[in-house]
């Protein structure tokens, strides 16, 4: 009798926690050492894309637990990213060219950002989760767009320029070293969140989530308060995604509408679907593939006699083609389990 343990494989799990800790410590060490070697341009570009990959990984993991594991279609991860980012930026900024700022200590700003994200998650959850899945998709998508419209148009949010003057808490000896330190620290956080997502997915808790994905009414008939589970999955996702937004503000020193466009949601979803919804590893690796492709094509542009905007369109076509190929030949994604894919 082969029996799958409820826990994540113990050894891998322990390695993850150690790796996460080492990465965070490495980042802190880079920050404190004050070393300041110069780095060449291309490497800086790679690091910068890497940082955004790590920030978006903090979106794709919760989205995967929400959709891949629990079957909830959240088309608005960027909403929580934006709430965390703007709340933290406005509260912590010591003076922005435009928009309302408060100059409060940053840990407090992060806390408020996460709490606001949770409140919005609760509000959307309570009002929509009782409806069918596709309504949830529309509401989350629309909410993210509305939030974008608000911060861009309503006074106090800094308009198109956004909010600047946010304390950069990851400052190291030099500008490139700051990016290196941020990369290590974010990578550590992503590893922690990945470990948590794995533990949820393979625990009895995750079993209930998978049952809800498979058949919500039957799950309720089997004694599970499905509505409560769905709300909580929304809330936990909001915590991580809000935190990702806060980290963006504190790394970047500013937030603006350009950081919270629909493109972020699309990127996260395409990454997850290519990698395989339902698999945490697939979601992260899928995102890496899509962003790696973007990075590669950024350099490849030099070799082609087309303008940057034309090349951007080409890049989108390549990503689109990749998605079509995956859906055609491996609909459950590269790392996804075909037997666990629900036909919607």
């Amino acid at each position: 009798m082969s029996a799958e343990t409820p826990s994540v494989e113990g050894r891998q799990d322990r390695l993850l926690w150690i790796a996460g800790l080492v990465l965070v410590l490495l980042g802190l060490a880079v920050m404190m050492s004050g070393i300041a070697p110069g780095l060449s341009g291309p490497i800086l570009i790679v690091i910068e894309v890497g940082i955004f990959f790590l920030l978006y990984a903090l979106l794709v993991l919760p989205v995967n637990v929400q959709f891949g594991v629990s079957g909830l279609v959240n088309f608005g991860p960027v909403l929580w990213f934006g709430i965390g980012g703007y709340a933290t930026a406005m509260l912590a900024s010591t003076g922005s060219y435009q928009g309302q700022t408060f100059g409060l200590p940053w840990p407090f700003a992060v806390l408020v950002g996460v709490v606001l994200a949770v409140l919005v998650g609760l509000l959307l959850g309570v009002t929509t989760l009782q409806l069918r899945g596709d309504f949830l998709a529309v509401v989350t998508l629309a909410s993210a767009e509305i939030f974008y419209g608000i911060v861009e148009k309503v006074g106090g949010f800094g308009g198109a320029t956004g909010i600047g003057g946010v304390p950069r808490i990851f400052e190291a000896g030099s500008f490139p070293m700051t990016d290196v330190a941020v990369t290590f620290i974010l990578a550590g956080i992503v590893v922690f969140v990945y470990a948590l997502a794995q533990r949820i997915t393979f625990s009895p808790y995750g079993r209930v989530l998978k049952a809800i994905r498979s058949d919500e009414d039957a799950t309720e008939a089997l004694g599970k308060p499905t509505f409560r589970y769905k709300i909580l999955v929304f809330v936990y996702g909001a915590i991580i995604m809000g935190l990702a937004g806060s980290l963006l503000a504190l790394y970047n020193g500013a937030v603006s509408p350009g950081f919270i466009t629909l493109d972020v949601t699309v990127l996260v979803w395409i990454g997850m679907l290519i990698g395989g919804a339902g698999s945490n590893r697939g979601a992260v690796f899928g995102l890496a593939i899509v962003m790696g492709l973007q990075l590669f094509t950024r350099f490849a542009n030099d070799a082609f006699p087309v303008s940057q905007s034309e090349f951007a369109a080409l890049r989108l076509m390549i990503v689109g083609l990749l998605l079509v190929v995956i859906i055609r030949f491996r609909p459950s994604g590269i790392w996804g389990n075909p037997e666990e894919r629900e036909v919607l």
């Binding site: 029996a3 995750g206 079993r207 009414d217 008939a221 004694g223 599970k224």
Partner: protein
């Protein structure tokens, strides 16, 4: 002592009365068949009992307690477990996980123990797994433990629904058309399981079937629904010879 009592249970959808003033008392340890032609309101009645539909009028009492205000998941925890007309196994989960899922009061179904992987949760899971294998053994599904439920035959899915229901130690088991779409030999097996659980564990059953004769051998008492109302209730042999019942069934077969 009655385990389930419905008092004037009525369910209306707009102008349509699907369940019409049903007063039914089921005693502990009974096996009751619930039959009626298509659209008689059998499944709707089940949905009213189990809380999937709020009743328009009347009340449902389970083990002496009015359960009108309890959600479906709360009612099933009280010991009232149902199956569905179309098998509702979790097809993207393994057979073993389908059964383990229904364990009650699992600490691992709360977020903190799940994230911390507490010893309490791991120990509980161990027990749940042992119990799940016992049930799979009993219902002859142990060889399929690690396969996905989507791979099972129609009959095996019915058995899996019963097995996972058993994990909840029900007092009252409501089976909605357990014979639908399964082969002859499986019908006998399912009937045998029902008898066995009734005799050995004193479990009460309400079984829905469509056909007039389908339940005569299994049940001790047959209730006939027609247009949402009870038109006969009693000894199966007598009920199937009841003129009104025969008329109703003939009329529906002519339609």
């Amino acid at each position: 002592m009655s385990i389930l009592e419905t008092r004037g249970v009525t369910k209306q959808f707009g102008g349509l009365t699907a369940v019409d003033d049903v007063n039914l008392e089921i005693d502990e340890g009974e096996i009751v068949g619930l039959i009626g032609p298509n659209g008689a309101g059998k499944t709707t009645f089940f949905n009213c009992i189990t809380g999937f539909y709020p009743v328009t009028e009347g009340s449902v009492h389970f083990q002496g307690q009015n359960v009108n205000d309890l959600e479906p998941w709360e009612r099933s925890r009280e010991g009232m477990v149902r199956t569905f007309q179309q098998s509702r196994t979790m097809n993207s989960m393994t057979v073993l996980d389908n059964v383990k899922l229904t364990a009650l009061d699992h600490p691992g179904e709360h977020i903190v123990p799940a994230l911390l992987q507490s010893d309490e949760m791991l120990d509980y899971e161990q027990d749940v797994e042992e119990r799940a294998y016992e049930l799979l053994e009993r219902f002859d599904l142990v060889d399929q433990a690690d396969t996905y439920a989507s791979q099972l035959s129609g009959g095996q899915r019915k058995l899996l629904e019963v097995a996972r229901g058993m994990m909840m130690d029900p007092e009252l088991f409501l089976l909605d058309e357990p014979y639908a779409g399964v082969e002859e030999s499986m019908v006998d097996r399912i009937a045998n399981y029902v008898r066995e659980l009734n005799e050995e564990e004193d479990m009460t059953f309400i079984v829905i079937e469509h056909g007039l004769e389908a339940l005569v051998e299994l049940v001790e008492r047959l209730v006939v629904l027609h247009n949402g109302a009870v038109i006969a209730d009693g000894d199966p042999e007598e009920v199937v010879r009841d003129e009104q019942v025969i008329e109703v069934y003939l009329a529906s077969s002519i339609e």
